[in-house]
Symmetry: C2
Subunit: 287 residues, 2 copies
């Protein structure tokens, strides 16, 4: 199923980008644009059309949740190497939705208080309520990605976490929250170019951290950690999607398409009035 509003797809992104049996991250070309026959300009037009549809779908989701007939919510989990475009997704895809319908959480390095609890403690507090699109900018997956690469936890603990994440996401799914997990995939060369542009522009210097270059040296280890995470946690109830991210316009369009597809499956409807409309019109007119 492709979104109604995005015209130029020739294939279904929710099929083409999904991590299934035998998936290998190394086989994904970060410069590819799977399933989309248009170019950058078409992509921008489709993104604009999709924004209006996404905004309405979210409002319907919220309206339906107010009648207590629905527990439906959406949780978008974003993971990526630095500079892959999470910020652009937040600004241009999430940012096109009414902010009243979004709960956004950026998970940073855990605080001392957070480290004193199980790794899911801070995550569970931020899951979206019915009617909302929750967005995680980084997530529970940091605890099996950087934690694995940097040895921040014992191997046995990291093994335990894959299962704990699956149980957690199953419970979310069973109680009405659609879990959409997206990894934005850039190439190492593209990352170097993007970081270099930050160094070239004084108004972007604050975005650069010398530690970013150190992390690049661990690139193959991160790719391995992602591969393992995909194998262990891409489930029927919460599949992973890998979106090629060397072309920003495609990344945004594809993530929007995945959100639209998720909401169209929920298919939220404007709820009927729970009061007598004509009687209320008369009462209001007299007030």
């Amino acid at each position: 199923m492709t979104a109604k509003s995005q015209k130029n797809w020739t294939g279904d992104p929710s099929e083409l980008l999904r991590v299934g049996e035998g998936f290998r991250l190394a086989d994904v070309d970060p410069s590819s644009t799977p399933g989309y026959e248009g170019g950058k300009k078409d992509g921008q037009e489709d993104l604009d059309d999709g924004a209006a549809e996404l905004d309405e779908l979210q409002e319907r989701l919220y309206a339906e949740s107010r009648t207590e007939a629905s527990n439906a919510a959406v949780l978008l989990v974003l993971q990526a190497m630095d500079s892959a475009g999470k910020g652009g997704i937040l600004r241009h895809v999430v940012g096109s939705v009414d902010p009243q319908g979004i709960t956004l959480t950026a998970f940073k390095k855990p605080t001392k208080a957070e480290l004193s609890h199980d790794f899911l403690w801070r995550i569970e507090k931020r899951v979206p309520q019915p009617g909302y699109i929750g967005v995680f900018d980084r997530s529970q997956y940091e605890d099996v990605l950087i934690a694995r690469v940097r040895g921040l936890a014992e191997p046995a603990e990291i093994e335990r976490r894959y299962g704990a994440i699956n149980d957690f996401e199953k419970k979310l799914s069973d109680t009405g929250t659609r879990v959409l997990k997206v990894m934005l995939h850039i190439s190492s060369d593209e990352q170097r170019d993007r970081l270099m542009r930050r160094l070239d522009r004084p108004d972007k210097h604050w975005k650069f951290n010398p530690g970013d270059t150190d992390e690049r040296l661990l690139w193959p280890k991160y790719m391995d950690a992602y591969q393992v995470a995909f194998e262990r946690t891409s489930t029927p109830w919460a599949p992973w999607y890998v979106v090629p991210a060397n072309h920003k316009w495609y990344t945004r369009l594809a993530v929007q398409a995945l959100l639209l597809e998720t909401l169209e499956r929920v298919d939220p409807q404007w709820p009927a009035a729970t009061y007598d409309v004509e009687a209320e019109k008369a009462r209001l007119a007299a007030s």
Copy 2:
């Protein structure tokens, strides 16, 4: 001072709309457009230009806060009678800023847990961190507005709250948070028309609550409660602004202008690099 990006102001909205000595809410015409000589179309163009400026100013504010040289934040407090346009401000003014830079809180009827604490307990937890624009959709003022009109607290307690609010806002202001308090002011007739349109459209029925008509009967009491709140809490460090709200385009433009003016006074700058830029370029190129 008027915003650089909004061309058609003939007066300064931060002067014209501010609640000062001798202010009387009853003298404000909700259909007026103080200080703006353009019409709806000019207003829309100015709003688009202002959106780009507001987005950049917020990003600068955030960037500057990362260097720890600045504690500056902005808190926008929105209060209004139902249907006056708070939602439109959130969608069209706040929604034009990168969602990563906004923390939005909608304060509903207090829960049991919230009622067991002082009225400011839930408020203090949601003040913006440095670098952010915090937005309160309703606020601490409900505790002196609906609380006064509906007698939800003893008169002595309500008296105490005006002072407590002033102390709280002074502390915020002293620690770098600019407090911008805005009341959107519609007429009772305009509200009736807007509520009637909700009853006329099946996709808006969920937004109507029969209780809205009951609240209308208390209109004069609410206006009195606002008048008292203005007199008691419009301070040099956190003045109130009353924005005529019968014309939605003006309301949005004026609130954007007040935000722009607030941020232009902060005048946040892109921070200088805290590392050796040329050395980092070389290290990155080799990575």
